[in-house]
Symmetry: C2
């Protein structure tokens, strides 16, 4: 067992579990504990700090919920991989470009690429009537072979059919769309929300149903304000952190 | 039972659960089902659409995970309240201002407002050494009496002590900080991530441990680039949706 640095102060008004949590966090901050390292067991922590099992559990489960630690059945609790820090959620860039900037080796797996009749939700997002066909493109994005996001994209078939002639595992969709003035994206509306992973999303992302997901929805328009793309991207909460560029208006 | 509009097409390549999900979503989009309405029971949906329990459950649990529906033990599944759509996550504004813009009645409850010795994480965020005291301010923000976010703010005591003389339930922290040129916020760094609610956060937000949370961390600086505020805000995933203003750079 690697003993943790830091002591618990019983006379402090700060709850014991919170002190233990801070001790572990400071081991992470200082890199004394790094990705993949196992933590001492519950019993070891109880004995070493003379605290109850409930206290140890509360500290550990908060750190698991917040993504710092991961549990593996029968093996214990270990330090999670650092989240992939994505720059500038407010910039609409190609995925390859984003990953290149942070020095990551990115890959794309196309799960579906077909022509379908749109559902009501998709019609509404694309401002399209029900009779129009749409292209459905579902892609899993990988970083170092690990799935980090599944993106479900819908585009009006009538203007975007040429996209289907391209290899969407190696080419950038935005680069393809910009070949044609009519489909070139110039503005986008984007929302972000936190949800729990459904069974199907969990399967594609190799996580567990009920894990945290960051859902980013983008409606992208051409210069005539016609919707060209509607994408729902589900990012693994445990692997992604987004930076928001801010403006102060106090 | 209110029968749903829409039919399931067995000959379609789209999975049955997904068709049912889309039927329910289109009832929500068209406002035929609104916040608080109960859905037909599992048995009713199975009988009406001639589909299996597993199919109904998959559709319903995806809609629950995504925040559209909520379950109440012994009572069934009903339509969730619409999420509070917060404009411009990339703007650093006062909370009151944000809520006023969307016509919401906002309230603030101060949980802690005290002076503490900072933990390693807080020292790092505030670029402060361990010997400096900090102000800890934990506030629950309410909308129409319902908690929607808990914000944990830390400020260096030496420059911000005057904040403690104010009523932080009625006054805006950013307005108070801007009274003094040394503490006026002019820039901020912000990150956003999705996590699961810990027991303590769940309790304050009146949700269940393991529910989805949107965590927004802000490090705010004065005009000399000195950190004045470090805040971790935990937003209920089921009640908040953020709009991101975007710039296209394809």
């Amino acid at each position: 067992m690697s003993i943790l640095n830091g002591v618990i102060k019983r006379e402090s008004p700060i709850p014991l579990y919170y002190q233990l949590k801070e001790i572990i966090l400071s081991e992470l901050t200082s890199n004394r504990l790094v990705s993949g390292d196992y933590l001492p067991t519950e019993n070891e922590l109880m004995a070493y700090y003379q605290i109850s099992r409930a206290t140890v559990r509360q500290a550990m489960s908060e750190l698991v919920n917040e993504g710092y630690l991961s549990r593996q059945k029968g093996k214990g609790t270990f330090v999670s991989k650092p989240k992939i820090t994505q720059q500038s959620i407010n910039r609409v860039e190609t995925y390859q470009e984003k990953m290149r900037k942070i020095g990551k080796n990115a890959g794309t797996k196309v799960v579906y690429c077909d022509i379908i009749m749109p559902s009501a939700t998709i019609c509404q997002a694309l401002s399209l009537s029900k009779q129009h066909k749409v292209i459905r493109l579902v892609r899993i994005r990988l970083v170092d072979e690990e799935p980090i996001v599944v993106a479900e994209t819908y585009m009006p078939y009538n203007v975007c059919s040429f996209v289907l002639e391209h290899d969407l595992e190696s080419e950038s969709l935005y680069a393809i769309l910009s070949e044609n003035e009519k489909t070139r994206i110039v503005t986008a509306k984007r929302t972000i929300e936190a949800v729990l992973a459904s069974e199907s999303a969990a399967k594609m992302l190799e996580i567990t149903e009920g894990d945290a997901l960051q859902v980013i929805k983008t409606i992208a328009l051409n210069k005539e304000n016609i919707v060209i793309e509607y994408t729902t991207a589900k990012y693994r909460g445990d692997r992604n952190l987004f930076i928001v560029e801010t403006q102060v208006e106090v």
